[in-house]
């Protein structure tokens, strides 16, 4: 029945959000983002997250390229990319991704190539996890929006 679908889906979304909070994947800043979404800007969160995804993937590609040459790794450039990724992750509430960036930056400051490689792999892993979970979140949200558009005469909300 679609009637109680809305409540069920909202509960699902809250459950997923609570899990992500508990895991430290997201922090309070993500809630701030949601609060900025309203009728006048109904897609604000997904717009921002979409920008975050495309920027992050570009940065991750750049980081991997910079680490390909063991001898001539440009650590300064890596730090610039990392600062960018740290900033944007912090702005959307992606706490774990941001924390890996911090560790990555420390390795880069020490010109620790192996450490940087390990950090990059961890960063890619965390980013993937975050992206998958956010997609899940958006899917649930979309279903909820659809379900709330359906009305049944005998329903009370």
């Amino acid at each position: 029945m679609l009637g109680w679908g809305v409540d069920f889906l909202r509960a699902e979304m809250n459950r997923l959000l609570a899990l992500l909070f508990h895991q430290g994947v997201l922090d309070e800043q993500f809630l701030q983002l949601q609060q900025l979404q309203d009728e006048s800007s109904p897609n604000f969160v997904s717009e921002v997250i979409t920008i975050y995804f495309s920027e992050s993937e570009k940065l991750l590609r750049n980081l991997r390229m910079l680490l390909m040459d063991r001898e001539l790794s440009d650590y300064k450039k890596m730090e610039i990319h990392l600062n960018q990724m740290m900033g944007s992750s912090s702005s959307i509430g992606a706490k774990r991704v941001r924390n890996v960036c911090v560790a990555f930056r420390a390795a880069s400051e020490q010109s620790n190539h192996a450490g940087c490689l390990r950090a990059l792999e961890l960063l890619e892993h965390e980013y993937c996890y975050l992206k998958n979970k956010l997609h899940e979140l958006f899917q649930i949200e979309q279903q909820r929006a659809l379900a709330s558009g359906v009305r049944y005469p005998a329903q009370h909300d």
Binding site: E28, L31, Q32, S91
Partner: protein, 237 residues
């Protein structure tokens, strides 16, 4: 005092990060401000130059015409990121304060890093506030007094009585605004202390406080109300 068209405050936001520009724009629009965003300090100066009288005779890149002569919408506040390639937020702040036509516009600095010397430098150079990123709605709410002050100054330059009032007000604002805004509520409750002492204290507190605050929030679960109650429930030191 002001016409309907001027009743909205106009904020110029400067940040090289697209995500942060979107965020600050949304935060400002939700707070009913008119917003213009640019991605660099040089573009900011360009924009500010173009807001003043179109027929500039000065060869300066910064016009020397006074704000009261300008036509069109004025800028009531500039909020800028600190870390930007090329011209940093600090460089931009300096240029604005060095310009006779722009120095009255309040400037607020944002930064993702809590560096006490950076904060002090900016405040000493004339920034009204130093806001830690990510910027929240509560931070944006603190901008209004700065904008109101300059609007009053412009509109009532003739009236000396009101100017005096404003000077008294701005002294009070001086004491509050030279302190990092995250600690604003705590500061009001604290007794009068030496300004630099307070800045040092607050910077230490702030880094400790941030971690405590975030830990608190995550463990206590989530609800939209958390963001509001955050300041009230801050741990003591």
């Amino acid at each position: 005092m002001s016409s309907a068209a001027e009743s909205q405050f106009h904020v110029l936001a400067v940040d090289d990060s697209l995500i942060d520009r979107k965020l600050i724009e949304r935060l400002l629009k939700i707070s009913s401000y008119q917003v213009t965003t640019v991605d660099s300090g040089s573009k900011a100066l360009e924009f500010l130059g173009s807001r003043v009288n179109d027929d500039r005779s000065s060869s300066d890149s910064l016009p020397s015409v006074s704000p009261s002569d300008h036509q069109g919408v004025e800028v009531n506040l500039i909020i800028t990121d600190y870390c930007m390639p090329g011209m940093t937020g600090y460089d931009l702040l300096k240029k604005i304060k060095e310009s006779s036509s722009l120095r009255d516009i309040p400037v607020v600095i944002m930064s993702s890093e809590n560096v006490p010397s950076r904060i002090t430098r900016c405040l000493e150079e004339g920034a009204e506030e130093f806001i830690l990123k990510p910027v929240r709605l509560a931070d944006v709410n603190k901008l209004r007094p700065h904008m109101m002050r300059t609007k009053k100054l412009k509109g009532q330059e003739q009236e000396q009585e009101q100017e005096q009032e404003l000077q008294e007000e701005s002294v009070t604002h001086c004491e509050i605004r030279s302190q990092p805004p995250r600690q604003h509520e705590l500061e009001i409750e604290q007794s009068q202390q030496d300004q630099s002492q307070q800045i040092q204290q607050h910077q230490q507190q702030k880094s400790g406080n941030n971690n405590k605050r975030k830990a608190l929030d995550v463990e206590e679960g989530l609800s939209p109300d958390r963001t509001r109650s955050r300041y009230n429930g801050v741990a003591t030191f």
